[in-house]
Amino acid sequence: MSTQEVVNSEKFKKLVTKRWAVSFSLLIILFIMYYGYIMTIALQKDFIASKVIAGGSTTVGIVLGLGVILGAWLLTIVYVIWANKKYDPAVAEIKKEIQ
């Protein structure tokens, strides 16, 4: 196949669509997670300052903050696992067809 044929092939188009679908899904999760956190801070200050377990010492805010950091990190891991397992092999396959 020539590069022009590659660009027009179903396989390639599907790969591109899939790539952005995965990216945007993960971005939306990140958005919901982060803005959920920020909006809780803006609107529910008492809840943020309250204790996770009554009588304990750790506050909800600490746990949520830690959760968003870990969650954001996990999303990058999810993306890399997807890219390694699905995207790279698909790219390699298409590349083989190009002469």
């Binding site: 956190y37 803006a42 190009i98």
Partner: protein, 521 residues
């Protein structure tokens, strides 16, 4: 307890000399391998994903994020954590939206990517100016902050501090190019992560490694003598996130700002391919996430330990000295010396990275690509790169001295706002949108950059805090919500109104490069 902070600490000077000496040795060896433009700007594309992850983390973990955020946590409590979280969330976004296509489409600068299927001249001028504006604002904030910091920490005169930072970082960039700058960044990142880890462990040892005990002690702060704290208030979000709209706007700048910071984007051209680029983001996110989890521990422990030792009076208003003071109490003057040297290395490395990014925009984007239309020999290109490095370095020092007594904290916010509003929309649309046009890009950069700058001046951040007026004209502290939306709107409107057929054809032809890496440099 007394502190030796601000006096010439022999151990600080020893560590400081070791850092400078070590990085100079690296620069010497890097200089031997820095002859071509690809070596000067992109370290010959020889950096691995792991190394680049450390270097990216190094670029991002500035002295402001180490000393500044631990200080905010110690003084204001929870607001510091909101910053820490906010500074991390840009990284996954960077991964999802730009990292791999950026690597595949670019050569030395992000403007290469924006220009890849559009008309080179106007695009490069616009994106180079957007890039330089971001870097300049960021650099001025770094230079002024670093001068003050060195003054406080080593008792050195502000003027000397500026000149020393300027000279040492110029030596790195000028002779060692990207290779030296990367290694300086890696060493600094390792030292910083090590320093913060040791500091957090020593601090937690004070609380018998129990978070419950740490949080209890913070809460009971109000009962200690000589305290200005209401302990419980430290767990309550303060003024940082006041209205939802304000929060949303600041969040946008923090999330999309990193996707338009030229010195961060430039690092993606130092790795061999898109896969390594992807890996570097994971490593960078891991290191930065780890760092921002430790920083609140340092801040909260400092609030308790410094109050117990009656050292709170020694702190500056911004809280920058919280971490150094804590390290002195916990590890004596040797550890203070180490932390001070780490802070200094951090400043040097960050300013060096910024200078290299500015230099590449001036020489590669403006001089070689626009002025010489790409017709410049390797020798000439490297020569121009070195000249622009000196020009920017001298400007940075001059600006640092000029702005000594100004409140420049808002400049980092401005840099993020311009990055998110001018650079990011153009970069992202050029990667993902077929119908994006040259004029769409140019006008979106202008609209985003100008509106971000004007609105931040009219916002409470500058209008009230810096200029001292009663009431701000523009209500949001960070303009990203308006300026970034405007930039995207202008990009869409102009591109749809004036279609550019050539750009669409080139976009399709470039697709194998964007997604498969075929033909990537």
């Amino acid at each position: 307890m007394q502190s030796t902070l601000g006096q010439a600490n022999p151990i600080a000077i020893l560590f400081f000399s070791l850092v400078v000496l070590g990085t100079m040795v690296i620069t010497y060896f890097a200089a031997k391998r820095t002859r071509s433009t690809s070596e000067f700007y992109a370290a010959g594309r020889s950096v691995t994903g792991f190394q680049n992850g450390l270097a990216l983390a190094g670029d991002y973990m500035s002295a402001a994020s180490f000393l500044g955020i631990s200080g905010i946590v110690a003084l204001q409590g929870y607001d510091g954590i909101v910053y820490a979280v906010g500074y991390l969330v840009g990284w996954p976004a960077l991964m999802f939206l730009v990292a791999e296509p950026l690597r595949n489409l670019g050569k030395y600068t992000f403007a290469d990517v924006v220009a890849s299927h559009l008309k080179s001249g106007p695009i490069r001028i616009a994106s180079a100016i957007g890039g330089i504006l971001v870097v300049l604002n960021y650099t001025i904030a770094q230079m002024v902050g670093s001068g003050k910091l060195i003054e406080l920490m080593f008792g050195m005169k502000y003027l000397y501090a500026e000149v020393i930072v300027g000279t040492v970082m110029l030596l790195y960039v000028l002779f060692g190019g990207m290779l030296a700058t990367t290694w300086v960044q890696i060493i600094k990142a390792v030292l910083l992560l090590l320093g913060v880890t040791v500091l957090a462990i020593l601090a937690m040892a004070h609380f018998d490694f129990s978070f419950a005990k740490l949080f209890m002690s913070v809460e009971n702060l109000s009962s200690l003598t000589g305290t200005q704290y209401h302990g419980k208030e430290l767990f309550r979000p303060g003024g940082l996130v006041s209205s939802p709209l304000d929060a949303f706007s600041l969040g946008l700048a923090l999330m999309f700002g990193p996707l338009g910071l030229p010195h961060i984007l430039m690092r993606f051209f130092t790795v061999p391919d898109a896969k390594e680029a992807r890996k570097s983001v994971v490593y960078a996110t891991s290191f930065i996430g780890y760092f921002y989890i430790l920083i609140p521990i340092v801040g909260f422990s400092a609030a308790v330990i410094l109050t117990k030792n009656n050292l709170f009076s020694l702190m500056d208003k911004g809280g920058n000295m919280v971490a150094p003071l804590l390290s002195e109490i916990l590890g004596g003057s040797p550890f203070l010396g180490f932390i001070a040297a780490v802070a200094f290395a951090t400043i040097l490395a960050v300013v060096a990275g910024l200078t290299l990014a500015a230099s590449s925009a001036m020489s590669h984007d403006l001089y070689v690509s626009v002025f010489k239309k790409g017709n410049a020999t390797e020798t000439e290109q490297v020569k121009v790169a070195r000249i622009s490095t000196v020009i920017f370095g001298v400007t940075a020092v001059a600006m640092g001295i000029l702005f000594e007594n100004m409140n420049v904290a808002f400049l980092v916010g401005l840099a993020f706002a311009i990055a998110a509003s001018a650079n990011f929309p153009a970069l992202f649309l050029s990667i993902a949108w077929k119908r994006f046009t040259t004029y769409g890009a140019v006008w979106s950069i202008i609209a985003g950059g100008l509106s971000a700058t004007i609105l931040i001046v009219l916002s409470p951040t500058v209008w009230v805090n810096v200029l001292g007026y009663e009431q701000a004209i523009f209500p949001l502290k960070n303009p990203a919500l308006v300026s970034m939306s405007l930039s995207f709107f202008v990009a869409l409107a102009v591109s749809l109104a004036l279609p550019e057929k050539e750009a669409q054809e080139k976009f399709d032809a470039d697709k194998v490069r964007t997604y498969l890496g075929i033909g990537a440099e």
